[in-house]
């Protein structure tokens, strides 16, 4: 029996504890709500986490850079990137999975001395953490990008008027437009 089988067998427990460890990074008030409210629209955070954990788990066992899993990981990180966390806190939940694995598999690990296999599993978690880090940075940058973009949108016409915005594709049209405008302004 290899470690993947054992992990699969304990899937439900591992998933539940994994998700619950993430939830517990929130205040106790929020975590009960995130855990208990099952409506995906009334509770997008809890829903995303529990859905995401399942996908992450599958990747862990199968060792494929499964697009679906990465997508779900991305969704979790996307949420945590705008919540009240430091970067390490935002991604740290993946490492808490290691804790879950070790605790859940403690008996089997000792009996079958599967530590090497465990290391393999853990390195998959490390890989995912790296992916998560990339996502995290991507979304942090996005947040800053949005700040700039929103500012531009807000005064779109003013910037356009000051010739600060110009679409390359519309270059030709813009020239004509600016001409007529120049005339109108006279």
């Amino acid at each position: 029996m290899n470690i993947e089988d054992i992990v699969l067998r304990k899937k439900a427990d591992i998933l539940r504890r994994g998700a619950s460890l993430i939830m517990e990074t929130y205040s106790v008030n929020a975590s009960t709500f995130f855990k208990d409210q099952k409506d995906p629209f009334a509770n997008p955070v809890g829903y995303t986490i529990s859905q995401g954990m399942e996908a992450i788990f599958d990747t862990l066992v199968r060792d494929e850079a499964n697009k679906r899993a990465l997508d779900f990981l991305d969704r979790i990180v996307r949420i945590r990137a705008v919540q009240d966390f430091t970067p390490s806190q935002a991604i740290g939940f993946l490492f808490s999975l290691k804790k879950v694995l070790r605790e859940e598999l403690q008996k089997e690990l000792q009996e079958n001395s599967m530590y090497e296999e465990l290391l393999l599993l853990e390195s998959r978690i490390d890989n995912m953490a790296l992916v998560a880090f990339e996502s995290y940075m991507k979304y942090r940058e996005k947040v800053y990008g949005l700040k700039v973009k929103e500012f531009k949108n807000m005064a779109f016409r003013l910037l356009e008027k000051a010739n600060l915005i110009s679409d390359i594709a519309d270059e030709e049209a813009a020239v004509i437009k600016n001409d007529t405008r120049a005339e109108n302004m006279k």
Binding site: S27, R102, K177
Partner: protein, 538 residues
């Protein structure tokens, strides 16, 4: 392999916040979660108290010496003036029905964003200073002393509420956090603790008539550009009038519609619609702002800014007023304007010049919502529409908070959308109509300084959009609010980048078949009309 960390050691990292009582947890101002304070020059221009340079992260907020007296006196005065305030302070039973209804709590999990606790921030002071039981039992009964820390907490959390009223829908006593937040902000304003994102638009609006402080000649430039774009798309030169005396209708819309992307396209929608109808109407440069950030400041400021609308209608001698797509503007027009600045007895009961329909429901205020006006046109077959022009769009509709929960405009926009486009899909039931989720940028929070807070607060809205995007391939989010058009655009970009935001009248403008138009190849936005947007898959 014995040096594998034991579980207990691994678990030493503990993110759980200490389990302290909420009163003993002071706020910690972090970047991205507060808005910069109002600049002194803006406060001075508005004759508002305590203009100074300061920052919420400062230890010393440079409060007036007798600040405590000012706040308590302010509270006493407001308890005497607003039954709502007094009742809402007294009757909450803390049943918790509201707790998980706030988008900021749902998306972030900060317990003080539970509406009940947000109100308790104020209630605890009320108990401590205005009730016997609070004075006797103190913190045991949820009472506390007014301190600078309390003030900081107020500032933090009352500018983390978008006054969307969602919690009020679920409260068995109708306790409205918007009302409580408004009181909290009024008290903060007495000390000069306000945010620039609100006060600057207020000052600008007061002086120039609009939030960005655009002067009349520049306003005309903005319109020129829009008119050029309309000519470019339709081949028709629309000629609106400004400050024209004797027009039948005064049209008022938020200024973001002339300046901001994608608001301008909605504005182009109005322009082509009115042109096609040959409507006898005028814009005003003096009353060029429908939005009213006074609502996010104080009741007095609402009135000071709103006064322009009736004053201008009277000066121009119009018969009635038509209002554009906006959320909080309509809260003011619907629930405050007539009471504050009425009676509008110099106007006439609104009648549509095109269909002859009497707008009975606006017979006192004399101001009609544009979706009521347009829905009536469509119902009476007065518009030639080609909904297939919007075929590249798969649309869902976001009910903006104020039209939904302070007016009840739910069917009119839907009726219009269904007539101007062929693909309309509703979001899940508990996220629309009176249960709609806020964009998280209303009530003066829509600034980039609050980006993180806004993104997480907007998650419930975005999540429902993502659902219809994945299920039906929705790629356009329609709304009837200028703040929505600005903030949802950003929100979508973060959570569901495939979905763009539009005003309802932008789609009307696209579908409208105009007399003498050239064959349309571009939308008002300048996108190719027949683009099939390849990746739409159902």
């Amino acid at each position: 392999m014995s040096d594998v960390l034991k579980p207990a050691e691994l678990s030493k990292i503990n993110y759980k916040p200490p389990r302290k009582e909420w009163m003993k947890t002071p706020v910690n101002f972090k970047h991205g979660m507060y808005i910069y304070p109002a600049k002194a020059k803006n406060l001075k221009y508005l004759d508002m108290p305590n203009p100074r340079e300061w920052s919420p992260t400062d230890k010393d907020w440079k409060l007036p010496e007798n600040w405590k007296e000012i706040v308590l006196e302010g509270m006493r005065e407001r308890l005497g003036k607003y039954r709502s305030f007094k009742i809402f302070m007294d009757i909450c039973v803390r049943c918790g029905a509201c707790a998980d209804k706030c988008h900021f709590f749902i998306g972030g999990g900060d317990p003080k964003n539970m509406p009940v606790l947000r109100a308790e921030l104020l209630r605890s002071i009320y108990r401590g200073h205005f009730t016997k039981s609070g004075k006797i039992f103190g913190s045991l009964n949820g009472a506390r002393e007014l301190t600078v820390d309390v003030l900081k907490e107020w500032f933090y959390y009352f500018y983390q509420c978008t006054e969307c009223r969602r919690c009020s829908v679920f409260c068995p006593y109708g306790i409205d956090t918007a009302e409580i937040t408004m009181m909290g902000r009024e008290l903060l304003n007495l000390l000069g603790c306000n945010v620039n994102w609100v006060i600057e638009p207020v000052a600008n609006c007061y002086r120039t008539g609009n939030h960005l402080g655009i002067q009349p000649h520049a306003l005309m430039d903005m319109f020129e550009m829009m008119l050029d774009d309309i000519y470019d798309r339709t081949g028709i030169r629309v000629k609106p009038s400004f400050n024209r005396k004797g027009a039948e209708i005064l049209f008022v819309t938020p200024s973001a519609d002339y300046f901001a992307e994608p608001g301008i396209y909605t504005c182009m929608g109005y322009l082509v619609l009115f042109h096609e109808l040959g409507l006898d109407y005028t814009w005003s440069t003096y009353a060029s702002e429908g939005g009213n950030f006074g609502l996010f400041t104080s009741h007095e400021m609402i009135k000071r800014l709103n006064a322009k609308i009736y004053a201008e209608a009277k000066r121009l001698g119009v018969k009635w007023i038509l209002g554009g797509e906006c959320g909080h503007m309509w809260r003011v027009m619907h629930q405050y304007m007539d009471t504050m600045n009425g009676p509008a007895d110099f106007l006439e009961e609104p009648v549509s010049p095109v269909t002859g329909t009497k707008f009975e429901n606006a017979k006192s205020t004399k101001m009609v919502h544009i979706t009521e006006f347009t829905a009536d046109l469509i119902r009476n077959n007065k518009l030639k529409l080609d909904p297939s022009r919007n075929d590249s769009l798969r649309v869902t509709f976001h009910d903006s908070c104020n039209p939904a929960r302070a007016m009840g405009i739910l069917e009119e926009p839907r009726y219009i959308i269904k007539n101007v486009c062929n693909n309309f899909y509703e979001m899940p039931e508990n996220t629309i109509r009176e249960q709609t989720f806020c964009c998280a940028g209303g009530a003066g929070l829509g600034t980039d300084e609050m980006m993180e807070t806004r993104m997480r607060g907007g998650l419930p809205r975005a999540n429902a959009v993502r659902h219809v995007h994945e299920k039906y391939g929705v790629n356009r989010l329609a709304c009837i609010c200028a703040i929505d058009r600005a903030t949802l655009t950003t929100l979508m970009e973060y959570w569901v980048p495939e979905v763009k935001v539009t005003g309802v009248h932008e789609m009307v403008g696209n579908a409208l078949v105009m007399e003498g138009e050239k064959e349309r190849t571009l939308t008002l936005r300048g996108d190719p009309l027949k683009e099939t947007e390849g990746e739409v898959n159902v």
